[in-house]
Amino acid sequence: MRQTLRTFLLTLAALALIDLAAAGALGWAAGAGRLGGLVAYFDYGRSVPGKLAAWDEAPDAPGNLADIAWRPAQLAASAEGFAAEDPGAGPVLRAYGMSFTSNILAEAEALDPALSVDRHDGPSAPPNFTFAQFLDDRPNRRAGDVVVLGILSSSLPAMAALSNQTWAFEQPAPFTYPVFLPEGDGLARIEPVIETADEARDPALAGAWRAQLREVDAFHAPVTFGATWADASPFLRLVRRSLAKRHIARVERRIEAGELYPVAEVLPRMIAAFAAMAREDGQVPVVLLIQGRDGSDLDLLALTAPVLEREGIPYLATAEIASPSDPANFAADSHYRPEVDRRFAEALLRLLP
């Protein structure tokens, strides 16, 4: 027993020494701006409050998402842009989506320089963000505009989340969005307690926000938000990252299985409501179904085909143009390659009136 205890204690001591050495090396590398990939690999395991605090401390650091995609700010910018538009300049393509839609639209603009595009994106934005932005941006559209609703397969489970903070653990952009739930024939909307970057930094709102996350957000867990002291240890960061990813994957599987949130019920209702409102306003609705490279994602086309056909909504499904199971279609960051985006853009342009 003594020998085992000795070995155990020495192992702990060695682990602590390795951890100290790793912390020192990572600190040096971060300071010297070297080994960026490795530093990021360890930083991914910081707690969500730890990452947000680090972003606040270094607002200009690359990859800082603290002030990105806050909805009221985006709507205000949209209103400003709308006011500055020339109403006689012709219809505008107004897109509510994420980087995938943005990339496709960039290719579309390159193909058709006359195209006028107004983007409303959030990083990995789930349909509850894009749909909410579409609803709230209503005053900033005109009859004749084309409205694009982007839906990304990998973000579908986040329909049960109020913010990327809870489900995009490695890049927890703090911007928030509502959760939509079925109510009667329509949808009820649960607004997040926090809606702006300033509110997110307000300690007075922190308690209410955490309470709402606990109550409403299917992904919220102590493993991602708690024990911020563990951020000091690279080893504990690795452990947290592993546990967090497992937790998020488990919740995603349950949501995809229809256990924790009715994606299969809410998404078609969103699409139907989107098309109805756009048509009521004299606009052309287009749904962009972006199937990501993860083969375990829900099949967007299978999930939405009935409502798209029933309502006669024009749509573009990336899976019908480029196989999501072909790795050659993807760049290293999991986005589609520009040449593939160009094929999507060509198909999108064919859909436009």
Binding site: T11, L12, L15, G37
Partner: protein, 476 residues
């Protein structure tokens, strides 16, 4: 309940705490209940199958022990074979053969119109069926006295560490380990923990880290030649780490409880020919096939051509044991063919293995042979992993350059942790291969051992951020 889930380790902690507090007989009863809970966590409906198999072989064993008449003994053995192989036939192969018949009939323009059989494969059925069968056959051959204690026998069949993916234990080694009091020791705890850690590194860091890259190529409609080549090599590493990782954890958990499970892998990719490979790969299955199939078929006793036939038959059935699909049969045929060709050209050779002393030139030549033979093994894994005959033909054609393929590769690169894990494993396996000592580190000073363990823990944490998947061999 996967070995890589925290729930398993919580379960094991509870089992371990109870185990320490109980006397020997009660330990066995508790382990039996725990084993059924473990298996029931997969699907409680299949507990009935295990109980059926246990009851049949227990009763057949008892009767065989008391029966002297050869004809009656044969009949009793037949009952066990019929029940166990019948279970396999229904739950594992019926759907496969029905679909194959339908496809064949379709070739002749006849559509039987059968309802597709929706039979769910009970996890681990091939493993525990072979384990119980070996008991009955050993009793029939009078190599083993039947046990009278039904509950001990039930534990032999259902012992949770090795229930769902082996090693396929023999009753003559595991039953005495169950029947006699076991010694719990700190030494066993240390050794078991190291085995568990090694298994977790193999599975979580390497196998699960490689899986997305390999899966992407096998799912790709138009893979590049270079990608197929890398996917083939990587899958060879993935399946080794996945399966031997499971075995290491199973052996480690069992060791902590005072059980000694057999070694299932002995650095198989250091083999230089097929005969040596099968002495190193899935040893519990290859020795089972040798003892209960190859030798009863006549082994190498009936001349050259009979030996080839027996090798082929054994490996074909070994392939089919893995799964109800033609690509497993093809893999078995490939392995049988390699063994037969090797036997034809090289004849039989003595054991080659760990700790063998060689000169530099002999080592150099051996490394060349190892590298060359690895290509043949890896191609066999392509047959094993492929989703269809069409994919086998397509991939083989592209590898051989007979079918045009896109030039640049697009395989997603495995994470850095995989490379670190592979480097670590190469050193670990290489050290065992050279020293012939599986516990080479035990002779190190304690501070160096502690540094090794700490490094292993760190490596595990470094690679544990990959998405985990079920063990490949659970499907068998």
């Amino acid at each position: 309940m996967l070995f890589t889930d925290l729930t398993f380790w919580a379960f094991f902690a509870v089992v371990g705490a109870l185990y320490v507090a109980l006397p020997h007989r009660a330990q066995n009863r508790m382990l039996l209940i725990a084993s059924y809970v473990f298996y029931g966590a997969w699907d409680w409906r299949f507990l009935g199958l295990i109980l059926f198999s246990t009851l049949v072989d227990y009763l057949v064993g008892l009767r065989l022990g008391a029966e002297e008449r050869p004809a009656h003994r044969k009949r009793l053995l037949g009952v066990s074979l019929a029940c166990n192989l019948g279970l396999l036939a229904v739950f594992k192969y019926l759907g496969f053969f029905a679909e194959s018949f339908e496809a064949l009939a379709g070739l002749f323009g006849y559509a039987p119109g059968w309802v597709t059989l929706q039979i769910v494969l009970p996890v681990g059925i091939s493993f525990y069926t072979f384990q119980t069968l070996s008991y009955t056959i050993d009793v029939y051959r009078r190599d083993l006295r039947p046990t009278r204690d039904f509950l001990d026998f039930a534990l032999f069949v259902a012992f949770f560490p090795q229930l769902v993916a082996g090693p396929i234990e023999r009753a003559r080694t595991l039953l005495p380990n169950i029947e006699l009091p076991r010694q719990l020791s700190w030494e066993a705890l240390r050794r078991g923990t190291v085995l568990c850690l090694l298994g977790l590194i193999k599975k979580v860091v390497i196998a699960d880290g490689i899986a997305p890259s390999v899966d992407a190529i096998y799912a790709s409609p138009d893979p590049a030649r270079i990608d197929i080549l890398f996917a083939t090599w990587l899958f060879a590493i993935q399946i080794y780490c996945d399966f031997s990782g499971y075995t290491d954890i199973a052996r480690g958990v069992a060791k902590i409880l005072g059980f000694e499970l057999m070694r299932n892998f002995a650095q198989p990719y250091f083999a230089a020919d097929p005969q040596e490979f099968w002495r190193r790969w899935h040893i519990s299955l290859s020795s089972w096939l040798r003892d209960y199939l190859y030798i009863p078929l006549g082994g190498s006793r009936g001349g050259r051509w009979r030996t080839y036939r027996n090798l082929m038959l054994t490996m074909l059935l070994g392939g089919l044991w893995h799964g109800a699909a033609w690509n497993f049969v093809l893999w078995g045929a490939w392995q049988g063919g390699l063994l037969a060709v090797h036997r034809a050209f090289a004849g039989r050779h003595g054991r080659v293995g760990e700790g063998e002393r060689r000169g530099a030139l002999a080592w150099g030549w051996r490394l060349v042979k190892i590298a060359a033979f690895f290509q043949l093994v890896a191609y066999g894994w392509l047959l094993f992993r492929a989703g269809s005959f069409a994919q086998i033909a397509e991939f083989t054609g592209r590898l051989a350059g007979a079918i045009p393929a896109p030039g640049p590769g697009a395989m997603p690169a495995p994470p850095l942790a995989v490379l670190l894990g592979m480097g670590f494993l190469l050193l670990w396996d290489g050290w065992i291969e050279l020293s012939g000592d599986m516990r080479f580190y035990a002779r190190w000073p304690v501070w160096l051992r502690a540094a090794l363990y700490a490094g292993m823990v760190y490596l595990f944490a470094f690679g544990a951020t990959t998405a985990t998947s079920a063990f490949i061999y659970f499907q068998f």
